[in-house]
Symmetry: C2
Subunit: 391 residues, 2 copies
């Protein structure tokens, strides 16, 4: 195992994030912003816990335009929140269905948000409302005269460009997962059920130093797989299967997200050709991933190659996305996304194509946009479909 | 490894769930119900994938009061959804921010929901809106004349009582995690960092047969830990530490959720006493967990013992909860919850107390309510705080 990066971030990183947020809020005329989703609360506080998996309790962070964030959270999280740089922490004995933080929020927001003030809330693409809708409606009806503004773009723009410390964490977990894939020939074998293969991959990834492997999907079938989001089945790997593993492993709350394809003992010609096409599509993406290119440019560069085999545009809906605190983040490499790439954006390239009667193949790499060539964080896939299980 | 239960469910299980839902919908006068959260979509379809971790795409299931569910989902999920018992599957090329399924929903709902019809949506405690709020607002403004009704209770009542097949899956993962904890003396040792201990525990749990360990939190400190939701740190285990691991491992999409406490080499008197109190509180809970008792009764039975050391009621907010497709489900063992226990409810007992200057201790078991004594799914914790690392 390599030495791992330091966990957490220095306070100055949070101060810098807050300063950038305050500037964007001023531009939009926002008096405050109310956040309640895991990545956003963590981004401004450092509050990292898997406890969000319990749907029982809502968690709130209110950020005034001119002050530090104020946490309004269940008492069970107070000890952990006190280890962060946040000093205004207001708690209640959650769960308390009749008033799960709502009157605390009301008390906080009422004096800050005068009638006519603009309150930012995330309502746009790729967001959810991580609190009961009924409670949200009650809170808003109590904040009379407030104008609610969609703040999705502000958060999106902030989070897309990563700091050096964030990139270090993502690079570290990409390295761990690359070393895990490098052992594919030892991990996977004919006759192994997919459920066993998933388990063996997870164990190897942890052994190599991952904190966790929250996302693992895979497929295997004769002459190509038909689905890329399936859980493990008891189907056994057979000679002639094309096997794909797609992995989101984490270190200190940061993700990698890339996949690899293997042929078990032998590969059919169409799958070889699909692999070659995707590999070259990724090369085209790598050549295009420069500051100043748009995500649409990235899509088009990959699509130009993919159309040799598949001109339908695929069913994945895009050819890659942002990466960091979540398995997938904005932007999307798609025709609808004209985000301009900037230095220190961390993205995936994820071309896919349909071939041979419902079969799909995906290919994915992780990189940092920088001046000149991008920095690959995943160890580049081999140019030819690797065959495993031949002794 | 024991033989694992069959993955998935027979179609008749989904038919039974739907029949029960239709009856409850009729009682409430609902013309249809719109679901979009992972457990609910899975409960009625069998659609199991970790892909929900990507926030990019919404997924919808509409269930008319007199027909089978209709899936309105991103194209990337079509192949997997076609393996379920659902036959009406409508897809779009998501992500497509300008219209991420909304016009498909509109086309589906418009003819079904005449003016004045009641549409069920989950808006209550423990729910989130798993789609962009802006899209929800647009959808609802397009469904003129529809009355939106909170359907949380319907889903809550359906999901709380488990089928035999569900209980088998939960029992299986509880057995795996019990065997993992039984090896605590081999896994944990003085000088090991908490990050290493987490990793070793996850690997052992997978080795014992878990599909995944989505939730793992723990704490360790001299004479007791102060926090129960923390991620791993680099702090090393020391003699005199009280170590707690709380685990949500999964098999086929079903969770266990229980914790264990250990003293490293030696235990202080107060921690021994806290452990004994919680163990006896759990015994009181086990005696009370019968059909006909309420969750409030369960809380009170445990609180009567806990108040020997701590009469504050704790900061966890409850002494256990439901368990199944999620790490925590309804109901809550708390003063506010008068849910009456029924046969085949799967619940946790999770008493906790505060002691010795900010220290907290938790204790947790998993069980099925049945006539007579409950069936323990976790192997009962030892009556005395176990000490590990003494050779």
């Amino acid at each position: 195992m390599l030495d791992s990066p330091v966990r957490g971030f220095p306070v100055k990183e949070f101060e810098a994030r807050l300063e950038r947020l305050h500037k964007l809020m001023s531009t939009k005329g926002l008096a405050g912003i109310l956040l309640m989703s895991e990545p956003e609360v963590r981004y401004f506080t450092g509050f990292l816990t898997q406890f969000w998996q319990s749907p029982t309790r809502p968690w709130f962070l209110f950020i005034p335009v001119d002050k530090k964030p104020i946490a309004v959270i269940p008492e069970i999280g107070a000890a952990l929140m006190r280890t962060t740089w946040i000093d205004d922490i207001r708690t209640w004995g959650a769960p308390w269905p009749k008033d799960d933080g709502i009157s605390l929020l009301q008390d906080l927001l009422d004096p800050l948000l005068k009638s006519g003030a603009r309150l930012g809330v995330m309502k746009g693409h790729e967001t959810s409302l991580r609190m009961p809708l009924g409670d949200y409606e009650r809170l808003m009806s109590g904040l009379a005269g407030i104008e609610v503004v969609d703040a999705t773009d502000i958060l999106r723009n902030l989070r897309m460009v990563k700091s050096a410390a964030e990139i270090e964490k993502i690079a570290y977990i990409c390295g761990i997962t690359s070393r895990t894939f490098a052992r594919a020939g030892d991990i996977f074998h004919k006759g192994q059920s997919l459920a066993e293969a998933f388990r063996a991959f997870r164990i190897e990834c942890l052994t190599q130093g991952a904190d966790d492997v929250p996302y693992l999907a895979g497929g295997a079938d004769q002459g190509g797989y038909c689905d890329i989001i399936s859980p493990p089945s008891n189907r056994s790997l057979e000679s002639g299967d094309i096997l794909m593993f797609d992995t989101g492993a984490t270190f200190d709350g940061y993700f990698c997200d890339f996949d690899r394809n293997y042929a078990i003992e032998q590969a059919d010609d169409l799958s070889r050709r699909a692999y070659d096409t995707l590999w070259r599509a990724t090369e085209a993406g790598l050549s295009t991933a420069r500051p100043g290119s748009t995500c649409r440019d990235l899509f088009q560069a990959m699509q130009n190659v993919i159309s040799e085999m598949d001109d339908q545009g695929g069913e994945v809906g895009r050819y890659g996305h942002g990466l960091g605190m979540q398995l997938t983040e904005q932007p999307s490499h798609a025709v609808f996304d004209d985000t301009v790439l900037e230095e220190n954006m961390v993205i995936t390239l994820e071309p896919s194509l349909n071939y041979s009667e419902g079969r799909i193949m995906v290919h994915e790499e992780n990189l940092v946009v920088q001046n000149g060539k991008p920095r690959l964080l995943s160890v580049r896939a081999t140019p030819e479909l690797p065959i495993i299980g031949v002794s």
